[in-house]
Subunit: 401 residues, 2 copies
């Protein structure tokens, strides 16, 4: 074995850690634990039996193409079907505006490869999705956090921060935003705030990354137009995925962007993994084409809505005064905040002792704040588990208060 | 649209180009062209009908797990099956020595992420696989080429170059080698040379990357032991894949390495794409388990052997004196060298005019040499096309001579 291994690793890998969430999840695998910690879709949402016939049809009609290398840009039919959906939603886009990625996480990684030099800054929410932050960090990005209010990222504070950074010649490469049912906060940005953020971005001549994995999973309220559409100038890069609406096990995501930017994604993806599995793309395309996708998403929405409602109801019943939470209009998560003096990390072993688990809110704050918060997932667990789990969690919190 | 887009791209993407090969391939798509340019497996090698029942069984017995997120390390059963094969081959390895990647190209990319800081050097063959070089380049690596002889990379020249680089304090991060049926040269390194290279690496305390996508596809001659086995100290990182033996459309590869290094791959992969598709991994595992993989590889070997023989025979019949070629014992490619003064790039449009295509050999030489060479693929085309294509190519070369 080479003797100086520690010295030959890159700066990049030396600064990276195993995902806190994925490591925490290992602690929460005991069957007696009710875990709100993960971010998994419900297995009930997977269209296993529909896929039997879909896969069989793909193998029968386009088997050799499905098993062969595919285009880096993605399967032409799948790209067209996705673009058609966006056009139906009112977006002015064409096939060249979209590239298929190996799930959204690859989209985040390629963003890093395309835009970030070591030491570059990017803007994110306080809190923001950990998988995004760690992808950007792996390219040496320094994340600058902007606080959220009930409407998402504060546009006034964003403008202030950008002015400040411009003065020291440290303009960030992009603003990273999850406008719908934000992970972890569960907040949805209304159109008015989206427009304010876009105006600030235009003023400062800076790109916006709109990470949108949950958009289709809305329980109530009116869909807000995508930032991609509201911008209309090609300054927004949107990331989509099937991981929350269809099958995370397929690893299919996509990036919607100005075609010049898509072209950079193609070049970056060629060296990252050449192409995404043609097999799963062809399955997904046929599934979409047959209209099964929308039927299944509606079923999933109904199921998750009941779970969210059960969680909110249990909170109202059991949580001690002083504890607050977000009430998401969609998605998979909500965010719970305890009184200022409390610490979710200290509480964690006590929760595990009571057989209930969550993710520390602080993991999502790039400035290390948020110690009194936690993220709770309601998609994976059953309604009975939600009721029992919240009861246990409330007890742990009450005892600590 | 932001107005300064060209200025905000990373150094990395600004230095990357679309793959020459993939762009060339677009020129060779006309149906009348016989193309030796690609690197695709034959569609006949894909076990389409076997997969009908395999996929159906996976969906029936483990459907929800197949559609869910999987472990970053890979599907436990698939890892175990692959490790068992290596153990049967005589390697001293266990499951912790292996991580599944989204095909070999991701293994190459993650190698870059784990080891390369901008300006670091790596050693490669002259010529060497373009996809490896471009992945390393995307992290800012500077490739230092070592000439090959009939037995692969020259160990004496490697030693000399490492001495030289040590003196200027520029030790490379690793030596990149494709020991079996090298792409593009079609050369196989005998065990004696493998041992010489390993001795040089040990002397200089440097890692070896053994890229091994073609190893299973041997037509004749005795398998040479893997460098991973010959080293035995954990200084070799081996990359494997199903892309040439099973189905490139599944995008499944793996990395075999010391467990400390595998651990770095896990961390790097978490931010690159979280995990490889559980669906395709479970299909591949069942396919291996049922013994269908080996049956199909043997069928593929027989078919490719006939194709290689047809190409060599056609060369002997048609190529003008002064043209030489390698006679690979396996794999998908051979390498053809024209007289010194000739230029495969200048010849290319004339070949296309005659409806035959190849890849420029110079694309594989990191020092820009190899202008009089070309890589020819024999796996994708039919035997009749090989005969006709070689005839056309020989005519183009003869006219130019």
């Amino acid at each position: 074995m080479v003797t100086n291994l520690d010295q030959i690793y890159s700066i990049s890998i030396s600064s990276m850690k195993r995902s806190i969430i994925r490591e925490l999840l290992k602690l929460t695998q005991r069957p007696e634990i009710i875990s709100f910690a993960g971010g998994l879709p419900s297995p009930d949402s997977f269209p296993v039996s529909d896929l039997q016939s879909i896969v069989s049809e793909v193998l029968k009609n386009e088997g050799t193409q499905a098993l062969q290398y595919g285009a880096t840009e993605g399967d032409p039919k799948l790209r067209k079907l996705l673009i058609d959906r966006y056009i139906k939603d009112g977006l002015n886009v064409k096939v060249d505006n979209l590239i298929i990625t190996t799930a959204s996480q690859q989209g985040l990684d390629l963003l890093g490869k395309i835009f970030i030099n070591r030491g570059d800054k990017i803007i994110c929410g306080l809190p923001s999705y950990l998988g995004g932050l760690s992808a950007f960090n792996s390219y040496g990005a320094e994340c600058v956090g902007i606080p959220l209010d009930n409407h998402g990222m504060r546009a006034d504070l964003l403008d202030e921060k950008l002015n400040e950074l411009k003065q020291i010649n440290k303009m960030p490469k992009f603003i990273y935003i999850i406008p719908d049912f934000q992970n972890p906060a569960g907040i949805t940005m209304p159109e008015s705030r989206r427009i304010e953020i876009i105006d600030v971005a235009h003023k400062h001549n800076i790109l916006i990354v709109e990470d949108s994995p949950y958009r289709e999973i809305r329980f109530n309220g009116k869909p807000q137009r995508m930032m991609y559409e509201l911008d209309g100038t090609g300054s927004v890069i949107t990331l989509g995925t099937f991981s929350k609406t269809f099958a995370p096990g397929f690893r299919i995501g996509w990036v919607l962007a100005h075609e010049e930017i898509v072209d950079k994604f193609v070049v970056a993806k060629q060296s990252a993994d050449l192409c995404t599995s043609a097999f799963v793309q062809k399955i997904a395309a046929l599934y979409l084409e047959k209209g099964l996708f929308d039927i299944n998403v509606n079923k999933t929405i109904n199921s998750y809505r009941q779970k969210r409602d059960a969680m909110l109801e249990s909170f109202r019943l059991h949580m001690p005064h002083g504890v607050t939470w977000t009430e998401p209009e969609g998605g998979l998560f909500l965010f719970l905040t305890m009184p200022e003096h409390m610490d979710a990390e200290k509480l964690f072993p006590k929760a595990i002792e009571k057989n209930v688990a969550y993710v520390l809110g602080s993991a999502f704050f790039c400035d290390g704040s948020g110690k009194n918060s936690m993220r709770l997932n309601f998609s994976y667990v059953s309604i009975d588990e939600i009721k029992e789990g919240v009861k246990r969690l409330a007890e742990v919190i009450r005892q600590e208060m």
